[in-house]
Amino acid sequence: MREFMDYVHAAFYQATGWNRDNSYAALNQTPDALLDFQTPRGLRLSLSSLASPNFATSYQVGSVGIVDGSISYLYSTEPLNVLLMPTSEHVSLPQLLRSYRPLAPLPMREGPPGTQTPFDKPDSSLLYGRLYLPQSLLEALVVKRISPALQLQMSAVSGSHLRNGGTAVGLAQYDVGRYALEGLYSSDGGLLGLRGIWNSGGDTTDPATAVKESDRGKPERERIYGRFSTGGEIYYGTLNKSGGVSLGTRFATLPEHKGTPLSATLTLNPLMGNIAASYAIVAGKHCSLATRMEFNVFSYESAWAVGMELWRKPLMRPVEETKWIGGRSFEAKLAWRLDEPRDALPTEESRSGNEEEYAGVLKTRLDQNLRIGVLWEGRVKSLLFSLGSGIDLRKLDKPFRTLGLEIQFSS
């Protein structure tokens, strides 16, 4: 289940006009969310709250054999309550749990330095800390926006079991919309990294020409309308003299696309000879599917995985509908007259049109080792729950490898 702090973190980016999906690291985000979702282990309870518009807290207690927990705090310079629905009773489930997320509009910051979109809020920052007990592991994150296009991020972990007592990673992100660059340094092994992404097609074309195109050939745009993102990454460990390289490209449809939303990615690791292709599609109104295929040209090893996301409507709704469709009420029959037209109907209709109608989501995946992951997430009263299991079909005598339940309450 998506943690509350992650949700708040995303809200911070939304509030400051930063698109965190416009990064090479997030290229595979959609298929990964459908194929590599985490299934909970053991019992976990979390209690979260947006105490003030700028401050959020979260407490978590878990038990997998032993009891452990964590305390986390988050402070943001920007008020978050405008964009965030903190209460678990009213939060929109698709917004919180949806795996297939359509592409967000690109921030257009091209031009002279300092150009910014109306949403940009430079000089905003975020502080986050989390202490795990009883391991005494401390996580810290600082995000600082330097200019409209530049953001610095520093994350660190301190724990006694780690070498040198902890690690820190510094990340500098530069995003002008059409392209985005990231440089990172990790204290562990002195890892240096550089990654970049270039967007083309779709909404990245000049707005003026885009309008002209849309005026001129609407049927052409009907056919396919999406954005190409191409990028690469390179890493080098200065201390252990090792490195890594990869290239990747993605095509994803934009929300304006009238046809079936889809996202296809292809990544290539020339050093290790690894090729991976993934494809995610919104197959129906309530269903998303994803597949991934990997192949290594050096070792001839291959891997595949398929995943599905299925949204469920609440049980009560069909009952209401049948009641409305079925003829006159008992009183009306007695009085030999038709039912009076109901005022409640339109509101009922509008509510069903709203996405808020969903009761929960079922996510499943299957990979080449015949391991199944099942996750059922939903809401009961004002509690969000997540029930999941990992099943291994190869070991039929003891198929349930993991089993877990996570319960979240936030206010």
Binding site: A25, N28, E139, V157, V169, S186, G193, T267, M272
Partner: protein
């Protein structure tokens, strides 16, 4: 006495390799593997080579047809090799991420994608250097424990030799794994193999019994009862607390070594001796030392009938000629071996075990107690003088004997011998030029250092010093010690008339050396008497000591 180690028959047995491979494969896959190794480790080739390891016998604590206990120093620089097959992760970024917390992960998109490569690793040029405690008994099989980390160096050659990073990583990882294997797993493997060889019935029993118990037994045996005066490999005395840490396994597990029932019965036995109860519980499945070693037992029984002092001297000689006891004497009772049989002959057989130390003190007569007094003082003097000498390895080893066994029944010449050892590295001839018997004592002492390891050779060499020392001994008739030892000599000749002449000569040489050594010791102490650490009172007591013993001897 000679040992014959056959190295090649091990390699001739094809079945042996197959079994050893299986056991090694199991052992290697038991502990959690580092992230770079993604598959099980299979032992594909194993060859012990043609060059045997060099074994140096440091101590033989117990020796009989069916049991053996000793400490060895092993050095190995042979041509053995071992080939392992597994699959490894070739992407360094992948293994890098595995061990890092996800929060600070750089989250690469595809740069960390894995590439697993089949790998064969050959371990060769293995250099080992270790102190080994070897315990063998027909009932319990063979147990080997390393007292230190045996692995000195090792050459790891693999498919990745050209890549520096991977090669270093493999070298480091494999060395670590091998150290664990040597220290923890190898003793268990050898124990299992030995059980199959010598006592197949035990193997079945072990299979029936819960497994961990068996493993505990294998691992614990040498430490199950910590020695009273432990020394480490350098000869420095070890604190008992550190020893209990050394044994690594908790005290609770030690219980598993003994039968609970028998412990209860032994408890009942000691209780019954405390009271006037005549009840003697029978202890099943117990083999007493007195019954088992027939050859030794008869040797000791004869002098036991004679005067106590004689039997003591003799038994001590036996002890010295076979072993060089300096530690661990209390635990397995092998240190008491020479004196115990005589004791058992006095007591009822079953009571002998339980009474042990206490009964011996009580059985002593008046004469004995006077001997006790003398011995006590001498022990102290040995301690004191040793405390002043620098501690060479043999020195400290020998000190511990007097500390651990201040009891009257202990063998007398053990101390002279021990002191001899301590003096070898310390005394200078210039010091004793004045007195003849001191130089006499000094000479054989050098001889004995060789004697203890290779008894065959000194047996031939022994007569020479004898001829020299003999007149020297006779030349000092008023000294108490030589007289005593002549008596001892006499007693010994009487007791072991059947033994061959060479050993008699050897023992004579020993005795004379000891006599001279005691005299040297006393002189030494006198000379050092004015030192600050040595109170005057102590060595005046020693001056009185010889007459006291004389009285006891007559």
């Amino acid at each position: 006495m000679a040992f014959n180690f056959n190295w090649s028959p091990l390699t001739a047995d094809a079945d042996f390799y197959a079994r050893a491979r299986d056991l090694l494969t199991n052992a290697l896959n038991k502990s959690p593997k580092p992230p770079i190794i993604v598959d099980d480790i299979l032992v594909s080739e194993l060859n012990l080579g043609t060059v045997p390891p060099d074994l140096e016998i440091l101590e033989i604590g117990d020796l009989a047809e069916d049991r053996f206990r000793g400490i060895f120093k092993m050095c190995y620089t042979g041509d053995a090799f071992l080939t392992l097959k597994t699959r490894v992760q070739a992407n360094p970024l992948n293994t890098y991420l595995d061990s890092k917390p996800s929060f600070t992960s750089p989250k690469p998109l595809a740069a960390a994608s894995g590439l697993t490569i089949p790998l064969s690793i050959t371990l060769s040029e293995i250099k080992l250097s270790a102190f080994i405690i070897l315990v063998f008994s027909k009932q319990k099989g063979l147990t080997i424990v390393f007292r230190n980390d045996p692995l000195e160096s090792l050459k790891v050659s693999s498919t990745f030799d050209s890549i520096q990073f991977v090669r270093d990583y493999l070298q480091r990882t494999i060395e670590q794994q091998l150290r664990n294997l040597m220290m923890d797993e190898l003793p268990a493997i050898i124990h299992k193999l030995s059980l199959q060889l010598w006592c197949p019935d035990q193997v079945n029993k072990a299979a029936d019994a819960p497994k961990p118990e068996e493993a505990d037994e294998a691992g614990i045996d040498p430490f199950s009862s910590p020695p009273e005066d432990p020394v480490d490999s350098n000869g420095n005395p070890v604190d008992l607390n550190t020893l209990s840490e050394l044994s690594a396994n908790g005290a609770g597990e030690m219980q598993g070594l003994f039968s609970q029932k028998n412990l209860l019965r032994l408890g009942a036995l000691t209780d019954s001796h405390r009271t006037l109860s005549l009840f003697t519980p029978g202890i099943s499945d117990v083999v007493f030392r007195a019954w088992s070693g027939r050859g030794e037992g008869s040797d000791h029984l004869t002098p036991a009938i004679g005067t106590p002092s004689l039997s003591r001297t003799h038994s001590a000689i036996v002890g010295n000629s076979t072993t060089y006891t300096f530690s661990d004497t209390g635990s397995h009772a092998h240190g008491h071996l020479p004196s115990r049989p005589s004791l058992v002959s006095l007591q009822s057989a079953s009571a002998g075990m339980a009474l042990g130390v206490g009964g011996r003190a009580r059985s002593g007569r008046k004469k004995k107690t006077r001997v006790v007094n003398l011995r006590r003082k001498r022990t102290e003097s040995a301690d004191n003088s040793d405390a002043m000498t620098e501690t060479s390895a043999s020195d400290t080893l020998s000190i511990d004997v007097p500390i651990s066994e201040p009891l009257p029944a202990n063998s007398i010449p053990e101390h002279p011998e021990a002191e001899t050892m301590s003096d070898v590295g310390f005394d200078t001839k210039a010091r004793f030029v004045r007195d003849e018997k001191r130089t006499v004592g000094h000479q054989p002492s050098q001889l004995t250092t060789e004697v203890k390891f290779e008894p065959e050779e000194p047996a031939e060499a022994a007569p020479e010093p004898v001829s020299e020392t003999e007149p020297a001994l006779r030349g000092t008739p008023d000294d108490a010690k030589p007289r005593m030892f002549k008596r001892a000599n006499l007693g010994h000749e009487r007791a072991s008339a059947s033994s061959d002449t060479s050993s008699v000569i050897l023992e004579q040489a020993w005795i004379k050396k000891m006599a001279g050594e005691i005299a040297t010791r006393i002189y030494d102490e006198k000379k050092r008497g004015d030192g600050p650490a040595f109170p005057n009172q102590t060595w005046t007591e020693h001056e009185d000591a010889p007459p006291a013993y004389e009285a006891a001897a007559h």
